[in-house]
């Protein structure tokens, strides 16, 4: 019997080891896999070819941002006790894997905890916000796109200053559920991150209201066309903390 047990153990221990390694990888949400993938694909990471295209997108983003900041400035001047800065720095990070459609809509970025990235940071594409860092490994970061089911971001409509929650639906256009029964918004209004949000920097441009359902219960909701499309982005800007 002991011989049989020893024989069995000799045959099975590599499988136990493999299973243990995979359980640890699963528990750490892919630390080993993501880092190995980043290491292997490093020579193929996007170069500066998209720079001009990104710059034109960034100009549009800057224009919208400028308007938002001016309005924000006026509002802040009226309030005497606001100390929070609306400006925060962003760092450029390459996108090393993207899955903008399907069950899990996510990006994999080529910088991680070693570069100061952490969960909860805002991720900007050319034009506006595209997602939020959900988890980091030493060399990579995983981003949940705004379109992903389960994604929730506090936003407001800049013109009317009405707050709402942007919910990812899996489709290209997330749904903006308003908190008011009469949000006084119309198609074409710009949506940006909420100044009341403690998670994201305020007034980052997000999208434009495409269609509106005023009769929806318990509150009206709108379909939002995002300014930045994640399908072809090779570089993103991640908020610095």
């Amino acid at each position: 019997m002991p011989k049989l047990r020893l024989h069995l153990w000799r045959r099975l221990w590599p499988w136990f080891l493999l299973a243990t390694c995979l359980f640890i990888t699963r528990w750490s949400k892919g630390a080993g896999f993501s880092d190995a993938y980043a290491f292997i694909t490093r020579p193929f990471w996007p170069g500066p070819a998209q720079k001009e295209w990104i710059q034109s997108g960034a100009e549009l983003e800057q224009q919208i941002k400028l308007d938002l900041l001016e309005q924000d400035n006026k509002r802040l001047r009226k309030m005497l006790s606001i100390e929070r800065s609306t400006k925060s720095g962003f760092v450029s990070v390459p996108v090393i894997s993207r899955r903008p459609k399907g069950w899990w809509q996510q990006l994999e970025l080529g910088k991680g905890a070693l570069d100061g990235l952490e969960a909860g940071l805002a991720v900007m594409g050319p034009g506006g916000l595209i997602g939020i860092v959900q988890s980091v490994t030493p060399m990579t970061a995983r981003v949940q796109l705004l379109t992903a089911p389960g994604s929730q971001v506090g936003v407001w409509v800049t013109r009317t200053q009405r707050h709402g929650i942007l919910l990812g639906m899996g489709t290209n256009r997330p749904q903006l559920t308003f908190l008011d029964k009469d949000p006084k918004v119309m198609e074409g209004d710009v949506v940006s991150t909420s100044p009341a949000s403690t998670l994201l920097p305020p007034n980052l441009p997000v999208g434009v209201i495409q269609s509106l359902d005023r009769k929806a219960l318990p509150a009206p909701h709108a379909s939002v066309q995002l300014l930045a499309a994640p399908e072809a982005i090779d570089w993103v800007q991640v908020q610095e903390r």
């Binding site: 750490s28 694909t41 949940q144 992903a148 639906m169 489709t171």
Partner: protein, 170 residues
């Protein structure tokens, strides 16, 4: 003959599943949705190696894929069951080698996995369940299963040959 698990090509092809899931080549997608690489690998493996090995491979693949995907949903149970089922099919009667049969099994497997993930989304995101019945879920299931079914005769037949070939000639 050396066991299947030790063939370098087998190990490399197994590692290719999480790698290709990461890579998600856009030119190999149907309306933005890629094939289910786990099904394409697990089907020939289970058919050749039997139900126990198929179930274990399903467990390992499921753990790997869960680790690289967003959220808390899991593919482990359904991959284990599919590996076990395909393993049993491989042990019964005539060997399954015809391209149509392989494609059909892969299509069924992909649909089952899709419905399983969809069900988990419905359970975990109860705050807005109606929205999850939108065309997106059906679109993802259909695109993924069709592409997997079409690629299976190509990829899985090739893997079937590799898995069946003795090591000396592999």
């Amino acid at each position: 003959m050396v066991s299947n698990h030790l063939k370098p090509l087998v190990v490399a092809s197994a590692l290719g599943v999480p790698f290709l899931s990461f890579l998600a080549p856009s030119w190999l997608s149907l309306m933005g949705v890629g094939p289910n690489w786990a099904v394409l690998w697990l089907l020939p493996w289970a058919l050749v190696d039997g139900p126990l090995s198929g179930g274990l491979a399903g467990l390992f693949l499921g753990l790997s894929l869960d680790a690289i995907s967003l959220g808390d949903g899991t593919q482990v149970p359904v991959l284990v069951l599919l590996g076990f089922w395909w393993g049993r099919l491989g042990r019964r009667g005539m060997p399954i080698e015809r391209k149509f049969n392989l494609g059909l099994l892969a299509w069924i497997g992909s649909v089952v996995i899709g419905v399983n993930i969809w069900g988990q989304f419905l359970l975990t995101q109860m705050n807005n369940p109606i929205a999850l019945f939108h065309s997106w879920s059906l679109h993802t299931i259909l695109c993924q299963s069709i592409l997997t079914g079409l690629l299976c005769p190509l990829v899985s037949s090739f893997l079937l040959i590799i898995f069946k070939t003795p090591r000396s000639s592999a």
